[in-house]
Point group: D2
Chain length 271, copies 4
Amino acid sequence: MVIDTQDEHPKHRIQLSKVGVKNLKTFIITERSGIRHHIIPTVELTIDLPAEYKGIHMSRLVESMTEVISDEFSVHKSVEELQIHILEGLAKKHPLNHGEITFEFEFGYASRTPASNKRTWEICDVVATTAKENGNATYCHTIEIKVIGNTVCPHCMANNEGLTHMQRAIGALKVVGTTENIPTYGDMIEVIESSFSSKTYSLLKLEDEVHVTRRMHDNPLFVEDVCRNILQHAYDKFSDRVLEMYAEATSLESIHKHDVIARGRIVTNGD
Amino acid sequence: MVIDTQDEHPKHRIQLSKVGVKNLKTFIITERSGIRHHIIPTVELTIDLPAEYKGIHMSRLVESMTEVISDEFSVHKSVEELQIHILEGLAKKHPLNHGEITFEFEFGYASRTPASNKRTWEICDVVATTAKENGNATYCHTIEIKVIGNTVCPHCMANNEGLTHMQRAIGALKVVGTTENIPTYGDMIEVIESSFSSKTYSLLKLEDEVHVTRRMHDNPLFVEDVCRNILQHAYDKFSDRVLEMYAEATSLESIHKHDVIARGRIVTNGD
Amino acid sequence: MVIDTQDEHPKHRIQLSKVGVKNLKTFIITERSGIRHHIIPTVELTIDLPAEYKGIHMSRLVESMTEVISDEFSVHKSVEELQIHILEGLAKKHPLNHGEITFEFEFGYASRTPASNKRTWEICDVVATTAKENGNATYCHTIEIKVIGNTVCPHCMANNEGLTHMQRAIGALKVVGTTENIPTYGDMIEVIESSFSSKTYSLLKLEDEVHVTRRMHDNPLFVEDVCRNILQHAYDKFSDRVLEMYAEATSLESIHKHDVIARGRIVTNGD
Amino acid sequence: MVIDTQDEHPKHRIQLSKVGVKNLKTFIITERSGIRHHIIPTVELTIDLPAEYKGIHMSRLVESMTEVISDEFSVHKSVEELQIHILEGLAKKHPLNHGEITFEFEFGYASRTPASNKRTWEICDVVATTAKENGNATYCHTIEIKVIGNTVCPHCMANNEGLTHMQRAIGALKVVGTTENIPTYGDMIEVIESSFSSKTYSLLKLEDEVHVTRRMHDNPLFVEDVCRNILQHAYDKFSDRVLEMYAEATSLESIHKHDVIARGRIVTNGD
């Protein structure tokens, strides 16, 4: 006979939130527009815990996940659809008011060098979350993507006869939306890449390097400019589709040991 | 003649928040109750940026900091007092509506082994933030401390003739309060350490190891229990002094490759 | 007309080694025994630089890689075979005496829970290096795999009436060998998993948890024991196939904030 | 009566090396030339383990350390001297053939802005190791220091009418020597800082930023140049004092998502 310690009363009757598993790595396959992605996400899967119960049933969380993904031949339409299936399965196994699942992973996409037109692969970081409130019919998705680009200081350029400093920068865009309307990773990557002084590339032959360096000098941008560019480009593209947009730009200053950062947010609901 | 590019109008008139420097490492000295702490914090110092300005003056942020801390013989009463001085200096140099400074650092404290009573040094992680709204007379402090302890599974113990699994765990407590009322790091550490199955120690002679291991078996706790213990102990000690308390407990499961986590929050204002 | 700055003489005529690209992320597909792996490795690709040249041609390194992997439909027999192709391509583009390529990535493999026999996916870390000396006909491979398991302290158990502490542990095995003889990842994973007090699993239902916990209590091992187990099991399985074997075991002590570690090595060449 | 499980015979009689504690954080105070440093190092302390013993006595390692450092008023002449005391104490407690202790920590040093001459604090990373062979009368020290600076691409500059790209870079110098002859951290930092296109600073007022940016354009350097500069400058300053010198330069390319790296080594013993 099993003793369900979790269902006992706790010593201190305090309600908890976001209780579950974290840093769990697993293996999933998605296929969108004919392109397969094998992904090893780092997973966090959590639910709330009412004040009167001692614990949640952790193994039911993992089981909800393995039941959906464990078949090595199962191919899912998207990360978002897969996350919904896991939360649906979990709701049948475990009472919950709020359920939430996050995948963090690297995502590869094809690109081309700007002058020599050679094929390259670029990699960005994705954090994809799906959440569900009990009694709420729809799932809410939050997707954050981070891409590496660069900044060129317009203030130094204006005060130094055109000489300036430039550096690697990281642009991030986070959007919140419903399953039908959430943008694709590709569209989000495009928004971020177009917001830097220049995109960056795995491969640059000399003609490409010359092209990129000129583009950078023609397009000097503060980290604040990059952050606003991301927000504006996202607004232009997604304002009728997402509820909230967050941007963050970080510049790994070449003249300092520290970074500079700018953050912003546009809320579109009510539009 | 200097061109102040920062004061030009931006291409996209979008208000930004938390714009500034990040990952800046510096050197500070504090002295409290006669004990000196030399600290190398990782600093984030940010302000808001109105829609009509292209950029903030980043060097004024750093200068506000170096003017307060650069004298190698200057000793400060506390991290919180030092952060207030920096924000005060910044408010004179740069218009701002919201200013915020965060230090992340490791903090050492003396302890004693539980049975052999030998002296040890233990280290925890601190994140200390001070924020100020324009027009608001008081500064708001947020302090988060993370300490390493352990958990022992009560569910396995109850179903396995007393045999169970145990593991390293991390307990975190975050409090929000005013300068006069914010708890000391030492009191916060005590709250966290008393919430685990057992405290952990740098040094344990065999008699100590026996003592700790017995204590662990006598005090099996879920990660949910540890989280609630931290909240309850913090409430008992600080409820009249802090506005909000957050707790998080993470258990590095010994039978899994992943962690389990629980989070909670108590708001005391209005009390 | 291109100026090849790299081919000029340097200010200081000092020979350099392992010059190249690092932290480059790319996308590859391998297929072995009918199982496809899409991998996003973090790549280091380096060559030596003679004293008389100012620099290496960095873009030729990346190009050697993108030429082999850029076709999104190209599927490679193995990481090792792919690394050889890249070094072969590089040797044609760039003079070099020593070339070396390393991929770091996560690798997923199927497992089954020990009592309930449910399917799970487990993830481990792989570092795979291929190196070639000029004039040497064969390529040398080094593969390191890290898997998470656990340790249970036999010393505490012996002195504490059977009560003891246990914790998460990490086992690593590194082997050096030729293309024909290098072990598969699966065989290396098996060696490591069988060396712990117990394997760990993503999913454990209560009956599995009881099984694992009993196994742990029946098989108490120091970190030194785990390290020697890995070496002995690797020797038993691979001694006629690999030249060198290294093992490392790290235990995330549940009674301490720090880890304990053991390392060892067996050289088999000449055997 | 204590059962010394460690002194039993192991299942597999394999000799191990570098067995001990890792990721142990502690608290030390040094004073050199009147300047006090409070340091929270991450410690690794290891010894060898002969084939016939099951384990080492881990608590004796930590105890050797706490006995030397635990008094909160004890001030040590240098990290190197402190490490020798710990190894001396350990040799009395535990038989060992090879003992080795490593401290990793951040180190702050005062600097001045290049044009406005304001005081700043800069931080670098230090890894300091002391090792002793049984029967060998002297201790061997290895010190590695990493400092952040920058690189400016001379190849792009030569082919692009003076336009080029620049970026943050990391320079590392590692030296091996005896207690009497090991260089100071300050001298090593100077060697590294003088090897970049330019030093970097926490604070730069506009006049400083102009100064640094011009210096960078006047001094374009590949990562290979920075690596050779470090080696040559170290050789000029330390060749009669150290046995081996290693250098590594890493450039966080602003036009790529990846880094480029160069490594080199000069052995001076026999000189």
